[in-house]
């Protein structure tokens, strides 16, 4: 039974956002007996409501509130008001993610030490190590039902994977598999197994894919300690004269402004909205925004080095049948600077339907070169390339005071320029991906530019010292002890891996910390 809590109840933990970070944190705290309200800007959908139609689903789920962009990235040119393809809905982007659940590698927690001083990059070691996070990774994998962990078998490979696997083997890669996926390969935790529907990005209609919407929040609500309020857009976090936060101001679904008191506030609105909220919460005491004494709020925005390769073959592939991210090659994820760049990248199968392929294959492209590629759709295989990008202080989320949302608040501007290391890595990845398809007989391969960002990271980075970042190793802000950050914006650096598993592991660890501090009455 979902608990309704009072607006004046100042004993609550209030979490902004219900995705992989906020939804997991809220549920875990509720399971520990702590009273939680999650404020979610989006609506609440049931999995039956999800739509197997790309544009219709986009209209249902995507965060399309106004944002602006700047910088030399191509997204700014082709999708100037859509820097990120993420979700505004209960469950956040865990509704839309593909399910790839890879642990960071040991060296990816200490890139400044391992990669050295890379010009223009704001590299820094994380204040935690892989060893410290391992137990939380294990807990997250069990909770999410990640394949190839906890004795759970891998998913079967679909057609897109079979082409990918054949290419990987021909090029000599050793680490190719259907991956570590938070998609049930057999029934588990009251959820059924994957029906190979496809449309993983559009919300899983069978419930086989883990999301906070179906796998966490209902569990939290069943304790009576968790209330999720959809369609509640938080405008501002408030604080008292001592500098501790006291609650949040939000606009509810009926357009009414409300004030929810809190003992603790945790921000988990993804890496664009989270810094925006901290910056929009500026006050006389904190004129540069909350938790921003370092000046790092909004900076070091990372989006992963990404790109895609599509190959057209003589015969049909039907890549869209079955799981969208059906397999991974990990051979290039290692650190090997002989390739001409630091960091590594994953290669993961990906498919788009005809409507999104047309929009994203070569944005702005037209004419016979474009349409002959589209005509090859049924014979097409596809992969996504995702690797570690360099944090740069100038890549940042700022407030665009020229453009206001419907509540009168400045919208976020996302500025991004590729670092030369990102470009070198992308070119390497394109070459390898195209070679894989060439080796299995592709008649044409296409290097497709990055889509609007799905992995948004780093804008409230974790640091050992308060002057270097926004939060400490527990996601607690350096400046305000009862203010936390609980999403991917905590990431000090991005790693090569899809971030959700790490976000969930950090949220579980943070829940443990918050519960401990609350019982010690330190916050």
């Amino acid at each position: 039974m979902a608990a309704p809590f009072d607006l004046n109840d100042d004993s609550l933990v209030v979490i902004v956002g219900s995705g992989a970070g906020g939804g997991t944190l809220g549920t875990e705290l509720a399971l520990k007996g702590i009273k939680v309200v999650i404020l979610e800007a989006g609506r609440r959908h049931n999995m039956e409501d999800f739509v197997n139609n790309e544009w219709e689903s986009f209209a249902q789920l995507a965060w399309t509130d106004m944002r602006t962009t700047s910088g030399s990235w191509r997204v700014h040119k082709n999708f100037p008001n859509l820097p990120a393809w993420i979700v505004k809905s209960v469950g956040g982007s865990s509704v839309h993610w593909a399910g790839a659940s890879l642990r960071f590698q040991e060296h990816e927690f200490r890139t400044r030490t391992v990669y050295g001083d890379i010009e223009g990059a704001n590299l820094m070691d994380w204040p935690i190590t892989l060893a410290e996070l391992e137990p939380w990774y294990a807990k997250a994998e069990d909770r999410m039902g990640v394949t190839r962990t906890n004795g759970i078998p891998g998913l079967p490979g679909n057609n897109n994977f079979k082409v990918f696997e054949a290419g990987a083997k021909k090029i000599g890669y050793k680490e190719v598999s259907t991956g570590h996926m938070a998609i049930n390969s057999q029934p588990r935790h009251d959820r059924g197994s994957c029906q190979q529907i496809g449309f993983c990005f559009q919300g899983c209609k069978s419930g086989a894919k883990w999301s906070t919407l179906i796998a966490e929040i209902p569990v939290g609500e069943a304790t009576g300690n968790l209330e999720v309020r959809p369609e509640c857009m938080v405008l501002k976090i408030e604080h008292d004269a001592t500098g501790k936060v006291t609650g949040v101001v939000y606009v509810d679904g009926e357009g009414k402004t409300q004030r929810q008191k809190a003992r603790i506030v945790a921000v988990a609105g993804n890496s664009i909205e989270s810094p925006r909220l901290l910056l929009n919460s500026a006050s006389n005491m904190f004129p540069d925004g909350l938790a921003n004494s370092s000046g790092q709020v909004g900076r070091n925005y990372m989006r992963h080095m990404t790109g895609s390769v599509y190959g057209i073959f003589e015969k049909p592939v039907h890549m869209y049948r079955g799981t969208t991210m059906a397999g991974v090659v990990r051979d290039e994820a290692k650190f090997d600077s002989s390739r001409g760049f630091v960091g590594g990248y994953e290669m993961e199968t990906l498919s788009l339907g005809v409507p999104f392929m047309a929009a994203f294959l070569n944005p702005g492209g037209w004419g016979r070169s474009f349409t002959s590629a589209m005509d090859g759709y049924v014979n097409m295989a596809g992969m996504w390339l995702v690797g570690e990008d360099m944090p740069q202080e100038t890549n940042r989320v700022t407030l665009n005071t020229e453009v206001k949302d419907k509540n009168g608040m400045p919208v976020a501007n996302v500025h991004f320029d590729d670092h030369p290391n990102d470009v070198a890595m992308r070119n390497h990845a394109y070459r390898q991906g195209m070679a894989m398809y060439d080796l299995v007989g592709a008649t044409r391969t296409m290097p497709t530019p990055p889509y609007p960002s799905t992995h948004n990271l780093g804008t409230n980075r974790m640091s050992e010292k308060a002057r270097d970042g926004v939060v400490n190793k527990h996601g607690q802000t350096h400046d305000i002890p009862n203010l936390f950050v609980s999403d991917g914006s905590q990431f000090t650096t991005g790693g090569a891996e899809n971030p959700t598993l790490t976000i969930v592991a950090l949220a579980l660890r943070q829940a443990d910390f918050i519960a401990g501090e609350m019982s010690k009455k330190t916050i």
Partner: protein
Amino acid sequence: MTTLIDKRGPSRRALLAGIGAAGALLVAGPAVMNPREAWGLEVTNLKPETMRTLIIMARDIYPHDRIPDRNYAVAMKPYETGASDPALKALVENGVATLDTLAQAKHGVPYADVGWEEQRVAILQQIEGGPFFEKVRGGLVVGLYNQEEVWPIFGYEGSSADKGGYIDRGFSDISWL
């Protein structure tokens, strides 16, 4: 979406009117027609000739020889409907007038009557990146490829959950590897 398009036979006047590079697309009174595909599109906000040129332009931007004119017409219909807004109407009418001016200068005929696709594409390249071209292309990339009717032409099967997914319908049936 088919309700936007009236099925009607060709009139004699229509058949006499527009024989040129526009293929089977004719202007007949307040309508653009394709007798071969047996449809007609009533045009009220734009000039019918403008609508005909837009449909040809749409095919020139995203040429798929297996997609009939009617799907391009469906994709362009929102520009006719939206031309009740004077700003959009001006953008479209002026844009098409520019195409015709460029075509007349180079080939001595309006855009729609220029014979070869590559000749028309060369004209489009002169306005590529401009507001009219990008407005048409941006709407078209969704309006054309989001029509369920064209998906089978690309071998795309669309919605799958309602059919039980692909677990028993060929998710791993590839045999040529």
